[in-house]
Subunit: 759 residues, 2 copies
């Protein structure tokens, strides 16, 4: 494993100490409307989503150059293009902020990035400190690469330095526009002595940001750009620093609808007070999330991930699920994990997401921007998310919230959205009484198996069994018209579906993936490629279709057929023959994505399934195999603080075990729940907190502090000879801690028997 | 004027001798389906147009690195990223080929680029010659940046070195595709000793093509790429060169539908024979074009442009009119100039273009790819093109060719396309009996003045008068049903339109541009902005709406109101207030495009108009002012060998006189015709060649060799006291040389009176 840095848990930071890791290591900064990814240099794309269209603000480059005005030497503090012998270069990956620090030639520099709570704006703070001998005369030159020309004509753009604004103003005035956010500002709380507004004026016609021509002059050119293919935001500040002296400048760069709004945002954000208060807000937000559940196990890395980083990744996902577009099922799953961290925000995002449901109960695959391939599974994710919210919050009022539909003017309470989702799943079945496959299900890449609406998905049928179980749980708690009849109806359909699954879905001792439009079995031994799939087994293990022992046998199949040194592949064997009876996964390179990678989302389903069938050791082994420090796959490139979408499968032609697409995965939410709710087994219920530990036998207990419904529980799991739960010293009946008064704090001891399943 | 190079007319080349001109200087290489722009480094985009979609092949970079295997030193021969002290770097801008040459450290290098007559393929030839002392052991490493990932998933790509193919093979296999051209090959007639297939493997994670990591090793990594965001085509050849020895390698890079087609194309094109024969073909093609008309005037630059370079630019335009999409009116205008150069190809392109006409007579603005804003003027360009073709070729059979429509299944002879175009123009008039403005006319950027189909364009009405004149000329020559009635009808409508123009279009002593949907005058003195427009005056001067003296007065207005030191602005005053009653030109920065630039297309209309009203001195002055060596605008950046779209107007905020968008303009065709047909006045007619010189009074005559209908005419204009034409020594009646036997050659003396108009 290439050493890239270390966790600094007390600061909730990861410190990247290697400027050139195997690949750029990412952080995400975001608010509910604006997002940026940022690497160890502070580079990365920032973008707003406006009118279901991405509106990029900065492409990649943010650079802070420092020039010694006496010697003429210049370099940049964050990328080190000129490869100066820095005393250090390190990056503090923070929760909602990001700081690149370096020292060269007696100047300590820091470049901090932040996205405030609201607004399409980046905040930057740059510090320069003279730690050398003697007074220094410096120029700080800051560069951004703004996305100004957002329409077809670069002739629409005007740009200038604007004294009133306090910086640079870029106005693009297209005649026709998809949205009104056409103005960009880049301002500072210090007056610039010079500036450049176009890339050509700054870099030179044949130059680049690596070594900009303009830095060879004493002052930037203060050009008047016209008809530029590429604009640039560059400001120069002359700074005199005595020995030990430090200079701090605050910047804001943002996008707005007009000049006045730019002025308002610039004034609001390019100053020290707002930078400090926004940093404080971000830290407070993170602390709030962290305090929800703090585990203390024998494994430090597990503690760090569960307590700090998975929460951040879920926080990203609950709004930006999959980042390149908000996925309906993705956001819902991430909310399912996120509900404990911030109930009001989880509620808000849930309601927004449900606006993208169709009146028929299904939903669009992805919104903001739109992806509308006709997947069939969207309805299957709603019940579990609502159930999780209800159990965490006790707030049943959410079911009455009126929410619209994506394709209909009707506005109905959330309960009806839920009901329609389940009805859709039961009403759309094929000849074998299983769920129609349509354009696909969780496996986005089996996208052509059921387009004729003949083929049936076994996995989606299992997911329907599980979703309707969650639905029944909710139904039992509430009053609705015809409740008994609805319940009876769901139970009846559910039982029938289970029977059909056993009859048509079980084959060769496991569940197949489905039967396609052509009547072909998918995921059966008879298949030439793709003989065994992971998800049907794990989801069946999480279900009540089969008795426990048979579910364990399904998990045995997983162990025997899909295990590799760093996890479990999504299927075996990989596809090498393009097959339009299945879909794009057969066109993918083998070992990538749904074609035989170790797809971490699926691996986390597997960890939960292990716990559900009482196999804590398998769950823990899987968690360990799957992480960045697995010595058998120690060079995956993944950020130690983030979960990636996949590891390339063992069947890949090259780069076996490499982990692309970090942060962009449903794994984080599921991993978090796997650890808290299944491995440690601390499960919210409507009227209490259930303890159902499934700890690995190698552990001698574990601890967790959990805030639930305003009550603090200090829980310790202690192995022993008999299961029993003691609250504040008193043994309770069963394993559900009852609700206590808000604000109270309780000590809980949970004795458990190693290796014994808690029912 | 910054010295960038020199013309080498005997080679039909321009030699760029300055590696860093004010801006990259472009050449275009193309066939009828594939096109690339290429600068002095050999960089630029190549793309095919398939199914009305651009399919880029190479983005920008083609680099040839040379490494001395003994010293380890490396550099590139064409871009000189590492800034070695080259003995020379020069670029031969050829007609259909392009060669970058350099010398460093005893190695003369040449990198030649070519697009063959057919196929989506680039051909490269690289020569290395040892001109230093002693034997040299070199590696040649060639790099291209292929556009492999053309769909949404990089997981679809497979790439490898393929021995049978003789190079690199990139296969992208998207599940859904807009076209089948998904395979790229990059091959050579020499076996590579090593290769790289991804940018990361070649450049390094943090490197770039400026200084690729892989060159620091003895051999390229021969990587197995997987899931790469960026592929690369890199091959290494080990070359031993004795003193004086030269090595030549031929490459082909292309896009095809499958492996077998790639093999065929690679075998066909990556070899010496095909390279030499394609070069020979290009040269032959150019000579054929050049020999059509060779002028010999007192002005060397005018000769060079008219004899060589304008023909190349028209050749580009006749297929790729405006390059970023094939414009209907653009291609037609360029064909109008191109007809004399290659009649069969002009015919073919004319027929293809007419396929994009609507059944109502109008046409789509741009095809390949589509731009469908509802412009109203497309029909007005058809008659002049057909007329020019008929006069040049005498081939009336073109009128009977069956051609389909863009929006209808009907297939009709070309004559019906022509008829429908004129009918459309006459049938779509507004309350003042002028042409409806609709979404715009020639002035693409007045695109909102008539969308409600109320506003009327004066310019389009004038263009209709002129188009119908051309139509009548054609009608008189042919037999069609109801001919007399059609002619009478056209004449009547035409006369009425002329009257309406005089009644409603003339204001303040000139023609306005139009009356918009809101009844507002556009281009009148009463307007706050945009008081005088160029084109209505110049087109009226070319028309018969007014008597000669009044047309001359219109041209006086042009001289008084629109002249600037380097041409004539499209209108005055510029727009600074966005105005949705006009359109996007009011949103443009002032001085750019249709908002007050010296728009060269319009300037060439003006030159023709000058000649039509007998003002040869004005025409010649305009041509001189408008060119790259005008000392009053000597730093425009334009290629000396190409015409640009515009010069930024005098009202521009900065960069006044700068000339962006070279090659992409309708100016070349009009400039060519202005010089040949109007200034020298050699005009094809149905039954002869008319001589109507309008030479500047400063000239003491001029000569032109003209091939017309297979006959060679050596024409000399000699100033004297009386106009008269002598063919082979015999004075003819009038000024039309009659047709002679094909293959014959004739000497023509044309006496003319300086400053006297030939009618």
């Amino acid at each position: 494993m290439s050493k890239v840095g270390r966790f600094i848990n007390e600061e909730r930071e990861y410190l990247i100490e290697n400027i050139y890791p195997k690949r750029p290591l990412k952080n995400y900064l975001f608010n509910e409307g604006f997002i940026m990814d940022v690497d160890q240099f502070g580079f990365g794309l920032s973008k707003a989503c406006i009118n279901k269209v991405f509106r990029p603000l900065i492409y990649d480059h943010r650079i802070a150059y420092v020039k010694d005005n006496d010697s003429g030497e210049y370099y940049d503090i964050n990328r080190n293009f000129s490869k100066k012998p820095f005393a250090y270069h390190r990056t503090r990956v923070g929760m909602g902020y990001h700081v690149v620090e370096s020292e060269y030639n007696g100047i300590q520099a820091s470049f901090a990035l932040l996205i405030p709570k609201e607004g399409f704006v980046e905040m930057h703070q740059i510090k320069l400190k003279n730690v050398g001998k003697g007074k220094r005369s410096l120029s700080l030159v800051t560069y951004i690469n703004p996305n100004v020309n957002i329409s077809e004509h670069q002739a629409y753009t005007k740009a200038r330095y604007d004294e009133n604004l306090g910086g640079l103003y870029f106005a693009h005035r297209p005649h026709k526009r998809t949205h009104e956010y056409v103005d960009i500002f880049y301002t500072a709380d210090e007056k610039a002595v010079a500036w450049a507004l176009s890339r050509e004026a700054f870099c030179g016609t044949y130059g680049s940001v690596n070594d900009p021509e303009a830095l060879k002059q004493r002052y930037l050119p203060c050009d008047k750009p016209i008809f530029e293919p590429y604009y640039a935001g560059v400001m120069q500040f002359d700074i005199e620093l005595n020995e030990g002296e430090e200079k701090v400048i605050h910047f804001a760069v943002g996008v707005e609808r007009n000049y006045e709004e730019c002025v308002n945002l610039a004034k609001k954000y390019s100053n020290s007070e707002s930078f400090e208060s926004e940093i404080a807000w971000q830290k407070q937000l993170a602390e709030g999330h962290i305090s929800t559940a703090v585990i203390d196990t024998e494994d430090e890395y597990l503690n760090t991930m569960a307590n700090i980083w998975l929460k951040r990744q879920m926080s990203l996902g609950k709004t930006w699920g999959r980042v390149y577009g908000k996925g309906f099922r993705d956001v819902l799953q991430d909310i399912t994990g996120f509900v404990s961290l911030d109930k009001p925000l989880a509620r808000e995002r849930l309601l927004y997401t449900l606006k993208h449901q169709f009146i028929n109960g299904n939903a669009i695959r992805m919104f903001d921007p739109i992806l509308d391939h006709p997947y069939q599974d969207m309805g299957s994710w709603i019940a579990s998310t609502i159930l999780a919210y209800l159990k965490e919050s006790g707030d049943f009022s959410v079911l009455d919230e009126p929410v619209g539909y994506y394709d209909d003017s009707a506005i109905e309470p959330v309960f009806m959205h839920l009901k329609r989702s389940i009805d859709f799943l039961f009403d759309n079945q094929g000849a074998h009484g299983l769920s129609l496959w349509g354009g696909g299900d969780w496996n986005d890449s089996i996208d052509s198996a059921g387009l004729q609406m003949i083929g049936e998905s076994v996995w989606l049928s299992i997911a329907t069994v599980n979703a309707s179980r969650d639905y029944l749980e909710i139904l039992e708690q509430i009053e609705v018209e015809n409740k008994e009849q609805i319940i009876a109806d769901v139970i009846q359909k559910r039982e029938l579906l289970k029977q059909n699954l056993i009859k048509h879905g079980l084959k060769d001792g496991r569940f197949i993936y489905g039967i396609n439009d052509w009547g072909e079995y998918v995921g059966a031994e008879e298949c030439k490629e793709g003989k065994v799939f992971l998800n049907p087994q794990t989801w069946a293990a999480m279900s009540d279709i089969l008795p426990l022992e048979e579910r364990r046998k399904l998990m045995d199949v997983v162990e025997e057929r899909l295990k590799c040194p760093y996890g479990y592949t999504l299927q075996d064997t990989p596809f090498v023959t393009p097959n339009d009876h299945l879909g794009r996964l057969t066109y993918f390179e083998k070992g990538v994505y749904e074609n035989g990678s170790v797809y971490n989302h699926g691996v986390m389903f597997k960890v939960v399934a292990d716990c559900v069938v009482g196999r804590g050791d398998n769950a823990w082994n899987t968690l360990k195999m799957n992480r960045y420090d697995n010595p058998l796959n120690a060079d995956s490139g993944v950020e130690p603080y983030a979960v990636s979408n996949m590891y390339f499968g063992p069947c890949a032609e090259s780069k076996v075990g490499y982990a692309p697409l970090s942060w962009i995965t449903g794994s984080a939410g599921w991993m978090y729940r796997a650890i808290i709710e299944f491995l440690l087994g601390v499960k919210p219920e409507f009227y209490g907190l259930r303890l159902q530990p499934c700890l690995p036998t190698s552990w001698n207990g574990a601890k967790i502090k959990r805030n639930f419904r305003g009550v603090k529980y200090d829980i310790e799991f202690i192995p022993g000879n008999e299961f029993g739960v003691f609250v504040d010293g008193n043994k309770i009946e069963g394993n559900v801690i009852p609700l206590f008064e808000e604000g109270s704090r309780h000590t809980v001891i949970c004795n458990y028997v190693k290796g014994e399943m808690v029912l």
